[in-house]
């Protein structure tokens, strides 16, 4: 049978590729790279928000934040599981993260400096993530598409909670409003960068053909900007881009030039938190080695005992 033709036909018809189906090696590799990168992002992404759990200013917000960070760990788990259907192990993937071979979203290399950052991450960062991820719910690889449906649902919830946190702060004291504006000033451009390079500079074009990436970076970015400007107005914060204005002709908001030097610098490991983030994950991994070894040793003892008893 002409596997490749069948594969292409299924994709062109909008069908799903499943783990046991034949697939081109490059498709498999692309998916492993993308899904694991996404999983790593969820796991590393627990750190900037986790930074505020012990200092959350109310018990309600502490609970919401804990639940959110827990959800992110959960997303990491089922994304690793989706990647494992492609024939790699979670440990393998995780070690690629720790060694720096695998990437995670650069957004998590920015620090969370005040409590409003928690709200802004929900609003802008999760908002941008959702824009990126909604098309993935229809991507051609079944396990990934199904994982993304669940992820997107929870992310929307997080986004609303983040926005709600900010609304509450904007109704508060002058200091609280300043915190929100400060956080927006720091997170706006990094959020815009989350959509990746401009289409003209973008690699990975196979992704489009394979039905993995269905909408272009620039289109997604524009959609995000258009949606966000109005939300910023409701909130009463300004976005730190003097070039941002409605373009009647395009029916979209124009916005300023992105600092791609900064983007590539952070991707390349020189963001403010790259070193600390990986060090934190490495420390958790190293400190936990004896625990993982104990669990394996106990499981082996247990199964030997059961066999002896049988």
């Amino acid at each position: 049978p002409d596997y490749l033709a069948e594969f292409n036909a299924k994709i062109d018809a909008g069908g799903f590729i499943e783990p046991k189906d034949w697939m081109p090696e490059a498709y498999r590799k692309t998916l492993i790279r993308q899904i694991s990168q996404h999983a790593h992002s969820e796991i590393v992404g627990m750190l900037p928000e986790g930074n505020w759990i012990t200092r959350a200013p109310s018990l309600k917000r502490k609970a919401i934040l804990l639940a959110k960070v827990q959800d992110e760990g959960g997303h990491g788990l089922y994304l690793y599981a989706a990647a494992e259907t492609l024939g790699v192990s979670r440990d393998e993937l995780y070690e690629a993260l720790l060694s720096g071979k695998a990437k995670y979203s650069s957004i998590f290399n920015y620090p969370t400096l005040n409590w409003a950052d928690i709200g802004v991450i929900g609003w802008l960062v999760d908002g941008a993530a959702i824009m990126n991820q909604i098309p993935l719910c229809k991507c051609s690889y079944g396990p990934y598409a199904r994982a993304m449906i669940r992820v997107c649902k929870e992310e929307s919830f997080h986004q609303r909670q983040g926005y709600d946190l900010l609304l509450q702060m904007m109704k508060g004291t002058e200091e609280q409003r300043e915190m929100v504006q400060d956080a927006v000033n720091r997170w706006w451009w990094p959020s815009i960068m989350m959509f990746g390079p401009h289409d003209k500079d973008s690699v990975h074009t196979d992704s489009a053909r394979w039905g993995i990436k269905r909408i272009s970076n620039d289109d997604l970015r524009q959609k995000f900007v258009d949606a966000t400007v109005k939300q910023a107005e409701v909130l009463g914060v300004s976005l730190p881009d003097p070039a941002l204005k409605w373009n009647e002709a395009r029916g979209h908001y124009d916005f300023g030039a992105i600092d791609w030097d900064e983007f590539w610098s952070v991707v390349g490991g020189n963001g403010q938190c790259n070193v600390d983030r990986l060090a934190a994950r490495q420390k958790a991994w190293d400190d936990g080695a004896w625990v993982r070894e104990a669990a394996i040793a106990h499981a082996e003892k247990h199964s030997v005992r059961q066999q002896q008893a049988a």
Binding site: M46, I53, S58, L59, V69, Q70, W115, E293
Partner: protein
């Protein structure tokens, strides 16, 4: 409930003790978020922290209502000074490592299962309702932590040694759970809840078999005493509060 057997202050203190135990342990466990040995435990520990913080909110709100001075859950959590916290010292000692965290969760969850069970029949009906809800959570925490205690104790030589060290460290603090006080006597007389000392035998019956299965040696009881539930804490408590209360202390009156 026979109001004559317990003063309002004693009733509040009994509830605050329950509240502060879960608040402070929830705060401690939440430090793990993002730093656990495996992602599954990141989730399980966050989940336990979430349950405990949730319980503390209900209990603090109830304590505030009993007090009748308009203090809400946040004022009680973030604006009391150290001496007014009524958690046992066991809750505030540092996590140290996954072994100590796990053994503490186990020792405490076992206590909570017994306590919530009794409190489900409290003459304080609000408390009874909180207890019924919390009992299910505590049972889950107990099962989960007991499994880990066995895995770690009966795992490798290294894990056995670390888990034994954790038990040796924590065991003396567990005595405080059962130290008698007038508040306990009054709560028991009024049917609010059991004197905690009355739970010791049942607790040992729950805890000792698991520790034995984990091949751990239970330390002998010593004259060591801690006094957290009487408001005299350890040096660890002040540092925990400095972190936990910082925002509310820095921005008084702000709503979040």
């Amino acid at each position: 409930m026979s109001e004559h057997d317990i003063t309002r202050a004693e009733h509040i203190e009994y509830v605050l003790r329950l509240a502060d135990n879960v608040l402070i342990l929830g705060q401690r466990i939440s430090e793990w978020c993002g730093h656990a040995p495996v992602i599954e435990e990141d989730l399980a520990l966050s989940n336990m922290a979430l349950d405990l913080i949730g319980q503390s909110r209900l209990l603090l709100t109830h304590a505030g209502e009993l007090e009748g001075k308009g203090r809400d859950e946040d004022q009680l959590a973030f604006l009391r000074v150290e001496r007014d916290f009524r958690n046992v010292t066991l809750m505030e000692v540092p996590n140290e490592d996954f072994g100590r965290t796990t053994v503490r969760n186990f020792l405490f969850s076992a206590f909570q299962v017994l306590l919530w069970d009794k409190l489900s029949a409290s003459t304080d009906r609000a408390l009874a309702a909180i207890a019924a809800k919390s009992l299910k959570e505590a049972r889950y925490h107990l099962n989960h932590s007991a499994e880990w205690v066995i895995r770690l104790g009966d795992g490798t030589a290294l894990s056995q040694q670390k888990t034994q060290a954790a038990l040796d460290y924590l065991w003396p603090y567990s005595a405080e759970l059962f130290a008698d006080s007038p508040v306990d006597a009054a709560a028991a007389a009024a049917g609010i809840g059991p004197a905690w000392s009355a739970l010791e035998a049942e607790w040992e019956a729950l805890v000792l078999p698991v520790l034995a299965e984990a091949t751990l040696v239970v330390p002998a009881r010593t004259p060591f005493k801690s006094f957290g539930k009487f408001g005299r804490h350890s040096e660890h408590m002040g540092h925990l509060l400095a972190t936990m209360q910082y925002m509310q202390r820095t921005y008084p009156g702000a709503q979040w």
